[in-house]
Every structure is written in structure tokens, then in C-alpha cells.
């Protein structure tokens, strides 16, 4: 033993050093989150292998082993996907049976959709004030573009099909079902028995029946509410039924939001002398709708996917076209490829709606800004 002190003495502070490489950056993150202990390490490795396996299988099937050219099914000889039909059929997927030399009208209507939606969906859109007027005119413009008139040749609505039909019915349903849903939700809470009973009756009757049934019977039900000799176009009929169906769900979603507004908000608004409609429009609905955003968008997404049900009344949306394509002898056995494409179409739209709703919820959050 020496008589050196047990502890080291040091007169100056050591200079600061960077943290060890194993605790910072990617390596540090990996260590703390994925490889902290033998159990986590094993799980991480198993999961990595599964991800790798699935991803490579998909890429192999969809890209590496795929065939992209050919005129019929027999051009595809390998194990991979057969995309040879794609350029032949994409036109029908998008436009249905719309006359091919008129499809530019659909394209224009589609492009114009963006300036029509932008001022309502985003802040700081340049010229928003004028664009809002354009938005109001958009349904008329789109209808003329799609069905003809004003010098454009007339196209029967039963030639609408493919994704155009899904978008048309879906958008019309979304845009109409929100205001109708709000009115029904308010009506359900009305003090006037007539309005309340009608709202409850409508919501329960429509919600209690499958949409597919409503579509089947729409040509029996709707004429009851219309003057005689007015024949409703099939697509209009679908839009009416889809809107009615979604409105009933919407009303219940919004009712949930309305019930979450504390009574004090109503009282404060009343004490200031706001009228019922001012109170609803300025105080209650903005808050109730904000709370209801997840449910509203959920209903929108459901509505959009339900547009595929038009197949039961003889319209061919993208799924209907896909079905007939799968049954085509030239391309027999390609159901996987076809339905994957259809699924991607729906997924891209529905996922966008979902992301937008999250963006909107963050934007409207006034507690953490």
C-alpha cells in the first residue's frame, strides 16, 4: 500500500467533451430504442426480417418480375405482376364509357376543382374572395362540362363511369351532406316538435336501412316526393340517396359535437344579446364542428368508398369496370393486379382526406398555439 490518497486530486476543471458517440445521433437512438437489452434486440431483428421479406416480395412481384407490355394475358409469362393491360384500360378506369374525344371536358372539370376547393380548405389563398364565387359556380360549370350544353355536345349521364363517377358522386355527396347534416343535427334539438320529429324520423329511417337498399328502392321512393312526370336521372338519384344517407350519419356526428359544448357558452352568447342563429353560427357550430372533425372526415371517407355501390343500379364506377375487366377472357386471372390499382385509387383519396383533417385539427387548435 502506498500513502497516496484514495481519490484523485485535480486543481482544474476538465474541459467539456462531446457526449459519447454511442448516446447521440442515429447510433444513440438505435441503441436506446431498438437494441436496449437482449429481448429488444431479438424482437428488432425479427421485425426487420419480416419487413424485409414483405417489401422484397412486393417489389419483386410489382416491379422486378413484372411484365409491362403485350396485347393480352399470354404476353405475361413470368411469376410477377402483369401490367400489360394498364395502358389499354386506364382510359376506362378513369372515364368509364365517356366518348374518348370528349374526355378533355372531364380533365378540365377536374383541374378546375382545385381552385374551387382551395379557398375553403386553406388559408392565405391568393384571390380567395373571387375564388369563393367561382366555387359557388363550380357545380354548374362541372355539370355543363360533364353532361353538355352551351355548345358542348350532350353526353348521357349513364356514360359517366370509372373514377370520374366515384369522384362526382363522392364530391357531391360530401359537399351536400355537411350542410344537411348540420340542419338535421340542429333540428333534432329543436324546441318545435314538428321539426324535431321530422329530423329524428329522417335520421333513424335513413340510418336504419343499408345504403344498397336505398339505392335499389330509390326509383320507387324518390318519385313520391317529386311532381309527376319528373324523371330523375340515375346519377342524380344516386347523389340524392348517398347524400341523404351520409347526412343522417353526419347529423349524429355533429350532434355529438353540439352536446360537448358547455351550457355556459350558450348562456354567454344569450346574455350578450345574440339571436339564436347568430349564437349557433358564431359560437356553437364553430366549436362543435371543430370537435367533430374526426367523425365528419370518417363519414366522408365512408361515403366516398360507398360510391362503389352504384354498381347495383347498373352504373359502372371504377370497381364495376374492374369487375368487368377481370371477367374479360383476354385478361383472365389478373384480378390481383386490377384490384390493387383500384385500391390505390381509393387509398390515395381517402388518405389525403385523413391527412387534411389532421392538418385542420392542428390549425384550429387554440390551446397550444
Amino acid at each position: 500500500m502506498t500513502d497516496q490518497p484514495f481519490h484523485r486530486q485535480q486543481s482544474e476543471l476538465l474541459p467539456q467533451q462531446p457526449a459519447p458517440a454511442t448516446t447521440v445521433g442515429i447510433v444513440g437512438w438505435l441503441r436506446t430504442n431498438l437494441f436496449s437489452g437482449w429481448f429488444n434486440t431479438v424482437v428488432t431483428l425479427i421485425v426487420l426480417y419480416l419487413v424485409w421479406f414483405v417489401l422484397t416480395s412486393i417489389v419483386d412481384w410489382a416491379i422486378i418480375n413484372a411484365h409491362v407490355s403485350g396485347t393480352d394475358r399470354f404476353a405475361c409469362t413470368s411469376d410477377g405482376a402483369c401490367w400489360a393491360w394498364f395502358d389499354q384500360r386506364i382510359h376506362q378506369f378513369l372515364y368509364g364509357f365517356y366518348p374518348s374525344d370528349e374526355t378533355w371536358r372531364i380533365n378540365i372539370a377536374f383541374v378546375l376543382l382545385f381552385p374551387a376547393l382551395a379557398p375553403w380548405m386553406f388559408e392565405n389563398v391568393p384571390g380567395a374572395r373571387y375564388l369563393r364565387w367561382f366555387s359557388l359556380a363550380y357545380p354548374i360549370i362541372a355539370t355543363i362540362l360533364l353532361t353538355g350544353g352551351l355548345g358542348l355536345s350532350v353526353v348521357d349521364t349513364d356514360r359517366l363511369g370509372g373514377f370520374t363517377l366515384n369522384l362526382t358522386v363522392g364530391l357531391a355527396g360530401i359537399v351536400l351532406s355537411l350542410p344537411f347534416g348540420i340542419v338535421l343535427a340542429l333540428g333534432r334539438q329543436s324546441r318545435l316538435p314538428v321539426i324535431r320529429i321530422f329530423s329524428i324520423g329522417f335520421i333513424e329511417a335513413v340510418r336504419g336501412v343499408p345504403l344498397i337498399t336505398l339505392l335499389f328502392v330509390s326509383n320507387i321512393i324518390l318519385p313520391i316526393f317529386l311532381p309527376p312526370n319528373v324523371a330523375l336521372d340515375t346519377v342524380v338519384r344516386v347523389i340524392v340517396m348517398v347524400t341523404a344517407f351520409a347526412s343522417a350519419y353526419m347529423a349524429e356526428v355533429i350532434r355529438g359535437g353540439l352536446q360537448a359544448i358547455p351550457r355556459g357558452q350558450y348562456e354567454a352568447a344569450q346574455a350578450m344579446g345574440l339571436s339564436y342563429w347568430q349564437m349557433m353560427r358564431l359560437i356553437v357550430l364553430p366549436q362543435a364542428l371543430k370537435i367533430s372533425i374526426p367523425g365528419i372526415v370518417n363519414t366522408f371517407i365512408g361515403l366516398f368508398k360507398d360510391t362503389t355501390l352504384v354498381i347495383v343500379i347498373g352504373l359502372f364506377d371504377i370497381l364495376g369496370i374492374a369487375n368487368s375487366m377481370v371477367a374479360n377472357p383476354d385478361w383472365l386471372g389478373l384480378s390481383t393486379e386490377t384490384y390493387v390499382v383500384v385500391a390505390l385509387f381509393f387509398f390515395s383519396v381517402c388518405f389525403s382526406m385523413s391527412r387534411y383533417s389532421i392538418h385542420l385539427e392542428r390549425k384550429l387548435d387554440t390551446t397550444t398555439r
Binding site: 357558452q265 346574455a271 344579446g273 384550429l364 390551446t367
Partner: protein, 261 residues
């Protein structure tokens, strides 16, 4: 700061001796529960009244009847020469003249502080936006939070929220202000900042009805203190007499409990 002339109507509009609020034979039931029993009360312009009493005594209900947040079943309520009936026009006219501050603030969480203040002037009084905003800023300065004008209520403390709520009510240029336990939901250290604003308001000549348990506030600013129990006005007196020489046993008991700690 501040002065009587921010509210000229209250100061000049009413003739002396004519009550601005007149309540006669008021009765109200919640179902079978008789919550207000034969209330008679008349309040002169610029009078400051503090109403106290145990919970469930009907004091909140009484002031909520004055702007018709609660409907009464019997008796008459006349506010600023307008009788409260089922006539919606009369109700709206009274609500324009009567400001109210709530226990739970009830600010609108989706609007900024400034928007909270300008909403009613713009939509109910049809004041031009620029003018409404200028006046709102004036009042926010008076309650000492002009720097919070652009924030949302959720970002403010309770005391700040209640001061905004007071400013919001004053933006309508009311003749009468009702306070329903304005400090009961506040942390102790925030009570003072709200009471300071209320004292300032009282000194400016506003007619005020305040339901509160802040006896210090009552003795400092009230012209009259009203004690309520079981739906009845048990005692009405000046603060001096009320605190030093209570008449009824019920009042004595209440005061001993509330002042004992």
C-alpha cells in the same frame, strides 16, 4: 384611472328616484322546488348591490332572471322600463343593456381575446369593426391586459380570463352589470386582480348586482348588502349595519361562519 364618463347612459339616462330594476312578487320553481319565494327588490341607477347567502339560496337564480337566462313563473321584472315577458324583442333589448359576468368566465375559446370583445358589438349593436376594436382595446387597457388581445382564452390565467370577460361585457356599453360569483373559480392570488377591476367599475358609477362571498368587497363598495336564504330575501341593509348589527338569527349564523376563518 377610468372615470364615470365611459358609461354616460348610466349616469345621465335615468331620472333620480326611478328604479332601474324593479322586481315585484317574483316566484320561481324548478319543478316542484320553490327556488325563489316572493322576491321584492328595487334598485336605483348607480346603486351597487352585493347579494350573499348559502349555496342553494337562489341568489344566482335571482340575477339570472334579470336577463332572462332563467324564466320566472310569477311576478314582474322591469328592467330599464322594459318588462320581461315572453316577448323576444323585450328580452333582446334588456340583454343589450345588461352585461353579465359568470363564475366560469365562459369566454369563447375559438376566438381571440379581441374577437371575444368585439363579437357582440359588431353583430348585435352593428358597430363598425374598426370602432368596436378601438373601444375593446380601450376596455382591455382598463382591465390591464391590452397585451393579451391577440391571444386565445386558453392561453390566459383564470384571473386574466375573468378580466377579459368583464371587458367583453363592458364592450356592449351596458347600463347594468350582473356578476355571478365572479371570483369563486379563481386561485386566491388572482382574486384581487379581478376585484380591483370591479372596484374600479363600481367607482365609475355602474349599476352593479354582485353575487359573491367576498365580504371585503361588499363592505368596501356596496351600497346595500342583501342576504338570501331558501329563496327569500332575509335581510337588506347597508354594509355597516349588515356586518356590525345583523338583524336576523340566520344572518348572524351565516356571518359567523363566513367570517370565522
Amino acid at each position: 384611472m377610468s372615470n364615470a364618463d365611459t358609461n354616460p347612459d348610466a349616469a345621465t339616462g335615468a331620472e333620480p328616484g326611478v328604479p332601474i330594476i324593479e322586481i315585484k312578487g317574483l316566484n320561481k320553481w324548478f319543478g316542484p322546488f320553490h327556488v325563489l319565494r316572493d322576491i321584492n327588490l328595487s334598485i336605483a341607477p348607480r346603486e351597487r348591490i352585493v347579494i350573499c347567502g348559502p349555496s342553494g339560496s337562489g341568489k344566482s337564480t335571482l340575477i339570472r332572471c334579470i336577463n332572462r337566462l332563467e324564466e320566472h313563473q310569477q311576478g314582474r321584472i322591469i328592467v330599464d322600463n322594459i318588462e320581461l315577458t315572453n316577448d323576444l324583442k323585450g328580452i333582446d333589448a334588456i340583454r343589450r343593456e345588461v352585461g353579465m359576468v359568470f363564475q366560469s368566465f365562459n369566454l369563447f375559446p375559438h376566438l381571440t381575446v379581441l374577437e371575444n370583445c368585439t363579437l357582440a358589438p359588431i353583430w348585435v349593436r352593428k358597430t363598425p369593426k374598426v370602432e368596436a376594436e378601438a373601444f375593446a382595446m380601450e376596455l382591455l387597457e382598463r382591465v390591464k391586459i391590452p397585451e393579451q388581445a391577440g391571444k386565445y382564452p386558453g392561453q390566459l390565467s383564470g384571473g386574466q380570463q375573468q378580466r377579459v370577460a368583464i371587458a367583453r361585457s363592458l364592450c356592449m356599453r351596458p347600463n347594468i352589470m350582473l356578476f355571478d360569483e365572479p371570483t369563486s373559480a379563481l386561485d386566491p392570488e388572482m382574486i384581487k386582480e379581478v376585484l380591483d377591476v370591479m372596484v374600479d367599475l363600481a367607482e365609475s358609477g355602474m349599476t352593479m348586482l354582485v353575487v359573491t362571498h367576498e365580504m371585503g368587497f361588499a363592505s368596501q363598495v356596496a351600497d346595500q348588502v342583501i342576504f338570501m336564504d331558501e329563496g327569500q330575501i332575509v335581510e337588506r341593509n347597508t354594509p355597516d349595519e349588515f356586518f356590525n348589527n345583523p338583524q336576523s338569527d340566520r344572518t348572524k349564523m351565516f356571518l359567523s361562519q363566513i367570517l370565522s376563518h
